[in-house]
Symmetry: C2
C-alpha cells in the first residue's frame, strides 16, 4: 500500500518565509529557491503574488521569479489570491498557481468574512484563467484537521471543499493541517474520505508540527497511499500566534523518514542539510529540523547523536 516513490513539495520560500518579520533579501530568496531545486525538490513554492500591504515579506515576488535559474523539470508554484495575483504569476511564468480555502466555516467567516462556498466561488476567474493559459492549478485546503475557532472540523466539510476545488479544475489538492492539531487517526480518516472524491495520486498532505505530530501524520498518510507531501526546509514557518510553537514540518525530517522507509524522493539529504543551515543563518534563527540538527552535529563532532 505504501508508495514506492513520493513527491515532496518544498514550501519554505513561501509558506516558511512569509511570516518572517525582518525582510529577507531577494538575493537570499533566489539562492534558497535555486538550491532547493538543485537538491532535487521537484516542486518549489517560490513566492506569493499578494498585496504587499498584507504580506510585505512577499513584496518581491516578481523579482524572485525573474532571478531564479529555472531548472528543467522543476515546478515553480506561486500563491495567487485573486486575478491581479494571477496576472503577476502569469507574467512571471509560474508553472503552477495556488488558490486556497478553509474547511472550517468559523475560520472562513473570521478571516475573510464570507462563507467557505463564497470564498471558493471567488476563485472561479483565477481557475478559468489558469486553465485557459495552460498553467497548473493547485488548491490548498486549510484547517482540514482542526480549526483554532471551531475546534473540530467535520470530515464532510473537507470533502465538500475538495469537491468544490475539483469542480474548479484543480490539478492537485492539498489537505492542510494548518494549525498542526491533527493526529494519525484523523489524518487517515480525512485522506481516505478525500480520496473517494478526488484522485488519491493528486492529493497532497501538508502538515504542521505544532503538536509534534507531523511526521507521524505523514506516515499515516503514506499508509493511505498518499504520494505528495509538503515540507519546509529547516522547518521554516513558525507560528505568529503562538510563540515558540513549531510550524511546517521540516523537509529534512521528511526526507529522513522516506529514506528509512525505502521510498524514493529524488532529494539529496546532504545538500538539504546544508540549505537548512544556510537559511537558518540567513534569518538568524536556529533550525527547527531535528534530523537537520542531528546530522549537522554528526558531521561536526564525528560520533553522531547521543548514546
Amino acid at each position: 500500500m505504501i508508495p514506492a516513490k513520493v513527491k515532496i513539495v518544498e514550501v519554505g520560500p513561501r509558506d516558511g518565509l512569509q511570516n518572517e518579520k525582518e525582510f529577507v533579501s531577494t538575493e537570499t530568496k533566489i539562492e534558497l529557491v535555486d538550491r532547493l531545486a538543485d537538491a532535487g525538490l521537484q516542486k518549489v513554492e517560490a513566492t506569493s503574488f499578494v498585496s504587499p500591504k498584507w504580506v510585505p515579506q512577499m513584496a518581491d515576488g516578481a523579482a524572485v521569479m525573474a532571478g531564479i535559474a529555472r531548472r528543467e523539470g522543476t515546478i515553480y508554484s506561486v500563491l495567487t489570491p485573486n486575478m491581479r495575483g494571477f496576472e503577476g504569476a502569469l507574467e512571471a511564468r509560474a508553472d503552477e498557481v495556488v488558490i486556497f480555502g478553509a474547511a472550517s466555516e468559523a475560520f472562513s467567516q473570521k478571516n475573510i468574512n464570507c462563507s467557505i462556498a463564497e470564498s471558493i466561488a471567488r476563485f472561479e476567474p483565477v481557475a478559468k484563467a489558469a486553465k485557459d493559459a495552460g498553467v497548473r492549478l493547485r488548491a490548498s485546503i486549510s484547517c482540514a484537521l482542526g480549526c483554532p475557532y471551531q475546534g473540530e472540523v467535520p470530515v464532510a466539510s473537507v470533502v465538500d471543499v475538495v469537491e468544490r476545488m475539483a469542480a474548479l479544475g484543480c490539478d492537485e489538492i492539498d489537505i492542510a493541517d494548518t494549525i498542526g492539531v491533527g493526529t494519525a487517526k484523523r489524518t487517515r480518516e480525512v485522506l481516505a474520505a478525500a480520496s473517494k472524491v478526488f484522485p488519491r495520486e493528486r492529493l497532497s498532505g501538508h502538515f504542521h508540527d505544532t503538536y509534534g505530530q507531523a511526521v507521524a501524520n505523514i506516515y499515516a498518510a503514506l499508509l493511505e497511499g498518499i504520494e505528495i507531501f509538503h515540507a519546509s526546509v529547516a522547518g521554516l514557518g513558525g507560528c505568529p500566534y503562538a510563540k515558540g510553537a513549531t510550524g511546517n514540518v521540516a523537509t529534512e525530517d521528511v526526507v529522513y523518514l522516506m529514506n528509512g522507509l525505502g521510498i524514493e524522493t529524488g532529494v539529496d539529504l546532504g545538500k538539504l542539510i546544508e540549505i537548512g543551515d544556510f537559511i537558518s543563518r540567513a534569518i538568524g534563527k536556529p533550525s527547527a529540523s531535528r534530523a537537520g540538527k542531528a546530522l549537522l552535529a554528526k558531521q561536526r563532532d564525528g560520533v553522531g547523536a547521543c548514546v
Copy 2:
C-alpha cells in the same frame, strides 16, 4: 490491531535528568516524581543507584526514593547497574529494578569493554536477587534500531538480546532507539521480531526524537500491537554528544497522540503540561515538547496555534 489502552512509562526523572550538568535539587526531583505520579503516570523511572562518580546527578537516589509520597498503584523503578545498586534499590523499596544491555556489539565493546553476552551475564546476580526479593525486573536494550559506532544493528542481534534478557526472568523488556535514528519501517520489523520471542504485551518502545521520528515510530509500534511506551516530560534528556539535538520523546506529545487516537493512557494532559513547565523552569531550559509549548501558548494567548 491498535491497542485500546497503553501504559506510559515516565523516564524524565532518571533518563531525562541524568545528563543535566547543573545538579537538580533533591527537592525538585521529589516534586517532579510526585507530580508525575499524581498526573496518572502508572510507572515512573525515579532514579539510578549507580556510582556518583559515573552519574553525579543521580547521587541522591536514596534521598529521592525516601522523599517521594508513594502513590497506590504507581510503579517506581530505578536503574541498577550491579549488586551494590540493587541493594540500594531494595533498601529504598523500589518496585522495579532496571538492568540494561546494548544490541550493538560495537557499542558494548566501546562502552563497557566486553561483549553483549558478557555484559548481560554480569546481570545474573541482580536478576536472581530481584526474583528472590519479589521485585519486578525490567531490561532496557539500547541501540536496538541503530548504533553510533557500527551504524546498522541486525534485527537478529536485538532478538538475541531479548532472548537473553527473557532468560534472566525479565518481566518487561524495552526496545530502545537510544540515538533516535530509527524510522517506522525498522521499528515495525524489530518489534515484530521481538514479539515472536517475548510476549508482546510486556515489550515496550523507548524512542528518542533526535531525528524527529519518535512519534511516528510510536504510531508504527502501535500498529504492531505494542502497549507500553517510554517518554520524558518536556522531552527532558537532550544529548551530551550532539548540541541542539533532541533526546527522549516528550510525554506531552505522546499523550497528545494517544488522545487523538482514542487510546486510554490514564494521564491528565493538563497536569502534564504544567509539570513540563515546572521542570523546564527549574532547570532553566526551554521545553522540548511541541504539544507542551503549543498548549501552554494556547492557554496564555487564547486563540491557540498558528493559522
